[in-house]
């Protein structure tokens, strides 16, 4: 399993997700350093208000000797803030099924805030009980 690919080794046009630290920002661009492979690249996004960011769905493009990550229609920049002490006990459960384990977490004083489930039967059951639900369509990667 690879958390993130090494950007330098990717072909141009490949779409990638990565976590990066923001080093320099300029008008309409930023210089970021990938936290795992430590490559510094340019991104065509202004990330002036961020220290660390997750970039979903950016495309590699080599221009001269510079590696760029360019935005696509599906690009999302998730800006990370420091975690707040008082909100440390909020829990999200993935692959939740009907989420029996959350009963144990709540008994500790944790607060369940969101759930994710793949199975449509169990997800439908959740949706009937929840105020809000979001369906995300995506292809299963083989």
């Amino acid at each position: 399993m690879e958390l993130e690919p090494d950007i330098r080794l990717l072909d141009d046009g490949t779409t990638v997700d990565l976590v990066a630290d923001v080093a320099i920002t300029g008008p309409g661009y930023s210089v970021v350093t990938a936290v795992i492979h430590k490559n510094s690249v340019l991104v065509d996004l202004n990330l002036a208000d961020s220290r660390r960011v997750t970039l979903f769905g950016v495309k590699k493009l080599t221009v001269g000797s510079q590696v760029w990550l360019t935005r696509t229609p599906s690009t999302l920049a998730l800006r990370h803030q420091a975690k707040e002490f008082s909100k440390m006990s909020t829990v999200t459960e993935v692959c939740s099924g009907t989420s029996a384990v959350s009963q144990g977490y709540e008994a500790c004083g944790a607060k369940m805030v969101s759930y994710n489930e793949l199975n449509p039967k169990f997800a439908a059951w959740w949706k009937n009980r929840a105020k809000s639900s979001l369906r995300v369509m995506c292809h299963v990667r083989k």
């Binding site: 979903f56 029996a100 105020k131």
Partner: protein, 347 residues
């Protein structure tokens, strides 16, 4: 309950970046996940990472990384601890992210009468100071089903019809090497580990994962599993009149695993779908033990508010709540000596 609290439910595959991105605005600071256990389960084909369902584990690790989660809790079958592939993935994850990984096999039956042994892992930012999860505290004696269930639920006719074994199921359970009695709930032992396929090994699984029952070849190879209770109704098999059996109700399995079935809403599900749902659940006793110990460690490290209760107090509180639910479900009038002994020992 869920709707009043305005919780968000996202349907989709956590190994998919779109789902992770969708989770981001609604994500807590702790991520928990019961990753798919079928790829490693002894009752499955043990194809590990070649099983498509195994992607939930790397999917969850990617979610932890992309969402920059400071504390995550994972749960699966104990076989994960022996899987070289899984252990390599966890080692690589720890080395690339700097997260601290602790793994533990927790057994439920020294504390509660169900053989529910699971692999648990905490993955945390080093500043949180989480330590390895200790063993769950054993009681002075190992409780068996009689301590929790002196008798079982009285079901309405509709539910009973759903859970009653049909003729094909009766024949198949009768033809197992040790006969049908081997599958009858033994109140002098803890309940065997519940599985997702209890109630569906010989027919379609209502969750949609299988359109038909397991093949005869597979049943011969892996065996037939389920926990049955005899009914007053009789049926004739090989010219002998024998009691017809029913599967355990999902609420009975839930209570035996420390789950409050009312909070879960199992009563609103089709009985065999509810049985499949509870058969794949982790136990709240184990999740509470892992989480309360992690909270205690984080508080001691100065990065978490003081937890309301010590881990053992959390366990006692959960047990008291389950005793009350059990009393409601069984309409308990007076408590047997074994029930009293169990409750007093927990206290």
């Amino acid at each position: 309950m869920v709707e009043k609290q305005g919780k968000i439910v996202i349907e989709g595959d956590v190994s998919c970046s779109q789902v992770i991105a969708q989770l981001a605005p609604y994500c807590g600071n702790i991520l928990s996940g019961g990753i798919a256990c079928q790829p490693w389960s002894l009752l499955g084909d043990q194809r590990e990472m070649s099983d498509d369902r195994s992607r939930s584990m790397p999917g969850m690790l990617r979610a932890i990384h992309f969402l920059q989660i400071p504390l995550a809790v994972m749960e699966c079958t104990p076989a994960v601890l022996q899987s070289k592939e899984e252990q390599d993935i966890l080692r690589k994850f720890a080395s690339e992210t700097g997260m601290v990984v602790h793994q533990k096999i927790l057994s439920l039956h020294p504390y509660w009468p169900s053989k529910h042994q699971r692999w648990w892992a905490t993955l945390s930012h080093p500043a949180l100071g989480t330590r390895p999860t200790p063993d769950m505290p054993p009681l002075a004696f190992a409780p068996s089903m009689i301590h929790l269930f002196p008798f079982f639920m009285e079901l309405d006719q509709e539910t009973l019809n759903e859970l009653k074994l049909d003729d094909q199921e009766m024949d198949q359970f009768l033809s197992t090497p040790k006969g049908i009695s081997e599958h009858q709930v033994n109140q002098l032992k803890p309940l065997p580990t519940a599985t997702h396929s209890w109630g569906s090994q010989l027919r379609e699984c209502l969750c949609g994962c299988r359109k038909t029952g397991f093949s005869q070849e597979r049943i011969k190879r892996k065996g037939l599993y389920g926990q049955l209770l005899p009914l007053a109704e009789k049926c004739t098999k090989q010219q002998v009149s024998i009691p017809r059996m029913r599967h355990l109700h999902a609420s009975e399995v839930a209570v035996a695993n420390g789950v409050d079935p009312m909070k879960l809403g199992l009563q609103d599900m089709q009985p065999r779908l509810a049985l499949a749902a509870i058969g794949q659940c982790g136990s709240p006793f184990q999740s509470a033990w892992v989480m309360s110990n992690a909270m205690q460690d984080m508080w001691e490290a100065g990065v978490f508010p003081k937890p309301t209760n010590e881990p053992i107090e959390v366990m006692r509180g959960l047990a008291q709540a389950i005793f009350q639910v059990r009393d409601q479900l069984l309409k308990v009038q007076g408590k047997s000596e074994s029930m009293q002994k169990f409750e007093e020992t927990i206290k």
